[in-house]
Amino acid sequence: GQKSSEEQADEAAEENKKKADEASELPSTAWTRAEYDDVEEGGTLRLAVSQLPNNWNGSHADGALVDRSTIVDSMSASGIRFTEEGEWELDPDYVVSAEVTSEDPQIVTVKYNPDAVWETGDPITIEDLIAYSKALKGDDDAFQVASTVGWEQVKEVRQTDDEFTGEIEFDSPYADWITLIYPEFPHGISDDPEEFNKGYVDENTPSNGPFRVESIDNSAGVVTLTQNDKWWGRAPKLEKIIFSVVSQQQLPSAFANGELDALDGIADGDTYSQAAARDDVEIQKSNGVTWNWLGINLEGGKGILADEKVREAIARGTNREAVGEAVVGPLDSPVILKDHFVFMPGQEGYEDSYEAAFGDPLTFDPERAEQILDDAGWELGDGGVRTKDGDKLALSFLIPADVKSNSDRARQIQSDLNEIGFEVELQTVPADAYFDEYIHVGNFDLITPGWQGTNFPETSSSNIYYPHSSAQNYTGINLDDEVADDVNTMKSETDEAVRLEATNRFSKAVAETFSTIPLYATPKIFAVKEGIVNYGASLFESIDWTQVGYAKE
């Protein structure tokens, strides 16, 4: 028997509701926990990366690569670690104490663990941080640094009592000062621009974690890590960690064939089901930090998008639930809409900014969208396309070639918008020209890329919307007058409550512009071989590599 589409619709809605209820809240950390003593000695963990770093110096412009961070996670410490809730705490292996000892000027006093040494055997001292901060400050052009964020506000780093104790003085207050307390590598590297720029093209900077690089095979794309014999903390359980370069196309198959022990970042249903088909794996799902959004260029659409009403109609005429369902549904996960511009759902301080701004949440409401357009004077013309003063409600949707999920989103939104009187056309461009030649230069009407949230959203996410001149402010909103103070507070206020308040105000202001319509958050999904503990899907929590391993039988 054939079901009518209404019946089907009902069923689908019910189904989704059930799923959402079941897993109404994903955990923030989904890995299997085990006590250190319950973990087997030895074993190898085989993981995949998509490429090897161009430069192993993570502070170099060429070293800013997610894959590099993945590889060096067990070899490079920042002095702090994150809890399941996303709060930081000091890592006693590295830092004994760190606190703000003066508010104005902001001074942070740190004391390092004197046992800590680099792979070279040299102790990790304040001198390393002094040199590191100088290199990253951005004053010396010879250092080709990736980012100077935070460091440019550092006035001076000084050694105080002994070589393990020191002070960091800031020019202006910096809220996330905790990210700046520990050096990434010995001062020998940060003293010498040549060494800094080119010294670690083929090899890793000295490790200060429980593991170190045993070998790097560039031609085969394999990095092998082994236990760091200079490691001073409790001994790691795993004997080796192997990272192999595996192409996107091959990932699911490689995992299915048992050539990898874990598959991270499963983002589509096909990979998901192929990974889940392996019988010795566990699928772990946690909340994720990746979220997709619909970007509306204020200067796009031959000017029609400058009209806030048109943008609002787009927002209300887009079935975000369905867009999310297409991607998240096959992952057996609930669609979690994101309605905040700084925090992820589940993160401390998250609220619905649309509700805050308009009193009601942003729901899919085509009638209301049409009403808004009607009110704004956009009248239905030939072929169901609205016009006003001779202008057509015609937009183009920019999509990168060969990113299926992106074009799927675009096509869904396209048909939603066509329903309410838009004429939306898809415009596909080469994947690497997508950002460089279109988005960065504001040559688009609608886009739907993704952002990756961070553990320090307040400092890092504001420049997506502010200032007007920010390179990441793709949609071109101008909130310069409105939110300047709030952003300042977000970046420099150390009192958390005050900061959250400012953050929510900021988010509300962005919501009101209808320039960026957040869609849904993608859960973080890992497939991990059974028996592996203390490693897997987590939203914030740092991995303690000493206790990653195989559970004792």
Binding site: T44, R46, N54, N55, A61, D62, A64, G138, D141, A142, F143, Q144, V145, A146, S147, T148, V149, N197, K198, V201, D217, N218, S219, A220, G221, V222, T224, K240, I242, S244, V245, V246, S247, Q249, Q250, S253, A254, A256, N257, G258, E259, L260, D279, A431, D432, F435, D436, E437, H440, S460, N463, A471, Q472
Partner: protein, 344 residues
Amino acid sequence: MTKYLLRRFVSYAILTALATVFAYIAASSFFRPRNRYEGIQPPISESSIDAILSDYGVNDKDPVLLRTWEWLERIVTAPLPEKLGQDLTNKWVLPEMLGDPTRWLFFWEQGWMGRAGVSLRLLIIGAVLAAVLGVAAGVWGAVRQYKASDQVISYASYVLISTPTFVGGVLLMILATKLNSALGFQLIRFTGAYTAGITGFWAGIWDWLSHLLLPTIALVLFGAAGYSRYQRSVMLDVLGSDFIRTARAKGTTRTRALVKHGLRVALIPMSTYFAYSFGTLVAGSAFLEIVFSWSGMGQYGIQAVQTSDINAVTGNVLFSAVIILFASTLSEVLYAALDPRVRV
């Protein structure tokens, strides 16, 4: 002939040089490696970007002609490994492609070969097997034209030919996984060139082979399918020739007449095909390498174009020029060797 080869060599050297310079100028004019650094979040300072780009010699703030001039200058003056400059992943282009020439003879060792070595290791066996199998299937099909076995070979080759590499690769991987789980142990591994952490000579060889198996099968199947269609067709042309009848009158068996006389003549046009398709294969069996995560030349080329890596693109063009011209010379020499009627 020696003179001919010499003349040819000179002509090809010019062509190679032209192609390379053209590639450099075209890439320099159209590619914008700067974009790569501009999109990064948090942003990198412009001076850093300028410094890096100038280091690579690809700063778009310098006029193309100036950059080309400097590039040419470097080719003349720089030490050999640095002649082509660095790619955007900080590797010297020449060693990245060719590895360490002093160790070329130790081909069984791992991790020395450069991308060309990776490609060759993957391709040589496969290409040769594909040719052999393709020829065999083609001859068989021609000889038994429209009989059951010919039909089976034909339809099988239609299926294979209409399967793009990336599709075929994925399907093969799925099948291999099924096979492995049915067997209960890992007969076939297909991720990259080897499994890291394997020690011991025999274990190493075994691992090496088990990684080669799948991409080789892919190459052989898809290659042979195409070859067999061509071979079948030429072979059919030859079968009606009088000289086959002559051979039969001398008392050769059917098989011998077909192989020694028929196939030998049918191979003449195919030799060109083999030489060139091998050349194009080496110069860019990109999809195969990508699907199986082998970081060979083809993958390098695609990555270079996708990341607007001017020096790497140029290096790639130079490499494929050398390979193609080698293939072209090979085809000519093969042709002359196979067909005494053509005088060069």
